[in-house]
Structures are given as C-alpha cells and as structure tokens.
Amino acid sequence: MSDPRDELVEHLGPMRAFAMSLTRNSALADDMVQDALVKAWTNIDKFQPGTNMRAWLFTILRNTYYSHHRKARREVSDTDGELAASLAKKPDHDGRLQMRDFHVAFDKLPDEQREALVLVGAGGFSYEEAAETCGVAVGTIKSRVNRARARLVELMHLDEDQVLETTDAVTAGIVSANKSVA
C-alpha cells in the first residue's frame, strides 16, 4: 500500500482554486492551502484510505478558512477600490462592465452559497460530496447552489442576449480578481 501522503501533491492545484474562490485573494489563498497541507500531512492517520481524498482535503481547507482566514479576507476586501481602479485601466472592451459586475456579484454571495456553487458547479463534486465537505444535508447544498445561481443571475441582470459576451468576462473576472492583489 502506498503512503496516502504521496497523493497530496495531486490535490494542491484544486485546493488552490477552491481557496481562491473563498478568499478571492491569491496570497491569502496560498497561506490557507499551506496551513491545510501541513494539517493534512500531520493528520494523515485520520484519512480513511479508499475514501475521497479531495473531499477530505477540502473539508480541512474550509475549516481553515472559517477559523482563521475569513476575517483576513474581510480586511483585504476593503481594498476594492484598488481592484476597481485596475479594472478601469484595462483597454475599453465590451466585457469590462460585466467583468466587474460578475466580480461584485460573486463577492456578494454569502460564503456558504459561494462554496456550494464552486464545489458543485466547478469542482466536480456531487451534491453528496459537497454536503459531506460542508457538513450539511444534501438538500441544504442543493438549495444553496440554486440560490447562488439565481442570485448571480439577478445581480448581473443577465438575460440570454448577454450570455455570449459575458462568457469571457466572467472567466477573466474570477481569475483577475485573484491576480490583481498578488
């Protein structure tokens, strides 16, 4: 049997992505991943081989977030003006407004909805895995995901006509939100 610790490295990329979606800040996200990695390494005996390691790691990661980093994120979020300024400097582009809109909308989601949406919508987690990771019932995850989507649509005043031009802006918005603070 191989040492499950050897597998940790494979999950670091997705852990960084999940951490960034929670913190929206690459420096904080990487601090969080580092804490979680050390915790996972030292508590590897608590991992049950054969179960979903990614879900286990994400659970550690989100506990780290809620116990240490959420407060820091709030403090960093105060630098929103800086971010808006950096976006405004970008060359004029149709997606610009929507990129900012998406960024603002995504940030407005409660943590619980944002993590549910990211796990299920982006992380490839089943509702069951997400429920386990977040320590809530499957129905709760479903309703959080639905509410998150509905709220994004509402906040961005999306309708079908805008979907196409929003596509790239949304992607860039999530990614650049992290980069710009690094």
Binding site: P14, R16, A17, I44, V118
Partner: protein, 58 residues
C-alpha cells in the same frame, strides 16, 4: 414560457465559466513554496509526523 429555459441556459453559462476559472487556477504550476514545503515535510517527519509540533487548535 421560455423563462425557465432561458434561466437554465444562463445558469449553465455561469457554471461553465466557474469551471473554466477553477481549472485555470487548478492547473497553474505549483508555486515553489508548496513543493519546498512537501520536501520539508518529507524529510522532517519520516516516521509519522505525529510528533511534530502539535496543531494548537481544533
């Protein structure tokens, strides 16, 4: 009557983009701080890290 359909296509778009953004970050090369840290963990706690300084909380 097409409202539900429209909403779901918008929602798919949101998911697709979230997914793409997630993959983008997930597939970035790992910063060296993580590969260094893994090396460090490997060499320091050869047995089973249980004796390394405890995690103060939880």
């Amino acid at each position: 009557m097409t409202r539900a359909k429209r909403t779901s296509s918008v929602e798919n778009t949101i998911d697709e983009n979230l997914k793409r953004a997630f993959e983008d970050v997930a597939s970035e090369p790992l910063p060296s701080r993580f590969t260094d840290l893994l090396e460090q963990l490997k060499t320091s706690g050869t047995a089973d890290g249980a004796n390394s300084e405890s995690d103060d909380n939880t």
